[in-house]
């Protein structure tokens, strides 16, 4: 599955439009991780656990989007957009990772 955030694919011929595909994942309010991140925020340094979680959430969102594209018979997704939105929550940091794009079939 070829993913691109551009409008077209250079040197590739797009044959068919397959539809919009989306994928989302959520990083919820995990009290303990949040607490440790809070400590790190005060003392400084990288919150590696948080980075790991965000990376995992992004991979899940993209994978979910790819799976849908495959089901639609596509072999590529163009105009891909990935965004991170803070949705509040108990500890004020429920983060939604969303990915969407246009599924296509190219030669």
């Amino acid at each position: 599955m070829l993913l691109s955030s551009t409008n077209t694919l250079e040197n590739e011929k797009i044959i068919e439009y397959k539809g919009i595909v989306t994928g989302e994942s959520l990083i919820g309010a995990n009290v303990y991780k949040d607490l440790f991140s809070g400590v790190r925020d005060v003392v400084g340094g990288r919150t590696s656990k948080y980075e790991e979680e965000i990376e995992k959430a992004r991979r899940i969102a993209v994978q979910s989007m790819e799976e849908k594209a495959e089901k639609l018979g596509a072999n590529g997704i163009i105009g891909v957009s990935i965004s991170y939105d803070n949705l509040g929550g108990t500890m004020g940091n429920t983060i939604l990772v969303s990915a969407y794009g246009t599924a296509i079939h190219f030669e």
Binding site: T6, N7, T8, I14, I15, E16, Y17, K18, G19, I20, V21, T22, E24, S25, L26, G28, A29, N30, V31, Y32, K56, R59, I60, Q63, S64, E67, K68, K71, L72, I78, G79, V80, S81, S83, D85, N86, L87, G88, T90, T94, L96, S98, Y100, G101, T102, I104
Partner: protein
């Protein structure tokens, strides 16, 4: 030594009874001592703790000395009954029904029947708290995740595969196919794929809002997250369908430069909005 052994040996039985009586008497004297000198904290007499403890200690000490075994601190339980009857019913000299009293009653009961109270405190209460906070699930999840990570990183020498809960996405697949089968172009790029823009209709916005179920205490964070994620997904498809309906109504058959946004509408009340917006167009297939 069992109860039958005591029945068969009257001398041992008498010794055990003596131990209980002496333990009980020492407990009563302790209670009188604390009451006489009014040794109290916040109006709560410390004799209520020390009397059963002393009674149990004396009885056990004597039993170990004379019988070479403990007989179960029966005098502590007797003292518990005595102190509660005297303190609450007969005299009520120091106890009033307040928070401290309730706490003290718990401590007295703990001194008298420690196994039962420890069970209630450690198993029942902690069990209820941990159930609501999901601590044990978090610990087991963490152990499972660490072991899995170790296995894949150190033994198999490959990246940890992502596990996606399929039940979260059941409706998502169906909705995705349904959305793309409605004869409408949802295009995230600036140009239609294999098509030509015949007419621009302008910017259009489709939206959908929902309210998150707010809980004072959450039993399962993962379950809440799944519910939240499913609601977001449903709202997203509603927003996209609303956008398509509006564009179709005005004679369009597609949207280009489509964007989807997720927003928290009012902080703290759990209202969310999903917006799908783009430029509505009429696309002619080439």
């Amino acid at each position: 030594m069992t109860l039958d052994t005591y029945k068969q040996n009257p001398r041992k039985t008498l010794t055990a009874i003596c131990c209980i009586i002496l333990g009980t008497l020492s407990g009563i004297f302790t209670y009188i001592f604390f009451l006489f000198f009014n040794i109290a904290i916040f109006g709560w007499n410390l004799g209520l703790i020390f009397a059963p403890l002393i009674a149990g200690y004396v009885e056990t000490y004597l039993a170990l000395r004379w019988l070479n075994e403990s007989i179960g601190a029966i005098s502590a339980f007797i003292l518990f009954i005595v102190t509660v009857i005297y303190g609450f019913i007969i005299a009520n000299p120091t106890l009033g029904m307040n928070f401290i009293t309730l706490g003290s009653v718990l401590v007295i009961v703990q001194a008298a029947v420690p196994t039962l109270i420890n069970y209630i405190l450690l198993v029942v209460i902690l069990g209820i708290i941990s159930y609501f906070l999901g601590i044990f699930k978090k610990i087991t999840d963490y152990v499972y995740y660490s072991l899995r990570k170790f296995y894949f990183h150190k033994i198999k020498k490959e990246a940890l595969p992502i596990k996606i809960s399929k039940n979260t996405f059941i409706n998502d697949y169906k909705n995705c196919i349904r959305l793309n089968n409605r004869g409408f172009y949802f295009i995230t790029t600036n140009n239609p794929v294999n098509g030509k823009i015949d007419k621009y209709l302008g910017p259009y916005v489709g939206s959908s809002a929902f309210q998150r179920r707010m809980k004072m205490v959450s039993a399962d964070f993962k379950k809440e997250e799944k519910e939240m994620l499913n609601k977001l997904k449903i709202a997203k498809f509603e927003a996209l369908n609303n956008l398509a309906d509006m564009v179709k109504k005005d004679g369009g058959n597609g949207v280009i430069d489509l964007k989807i946004e997720y927003e928290l509408v009012d902080m703290g009340r759990g209202r969310y909005q999903v917006i799908a917006h783009g430029t509505a167009v009429v696309i002619k297939k080439e």
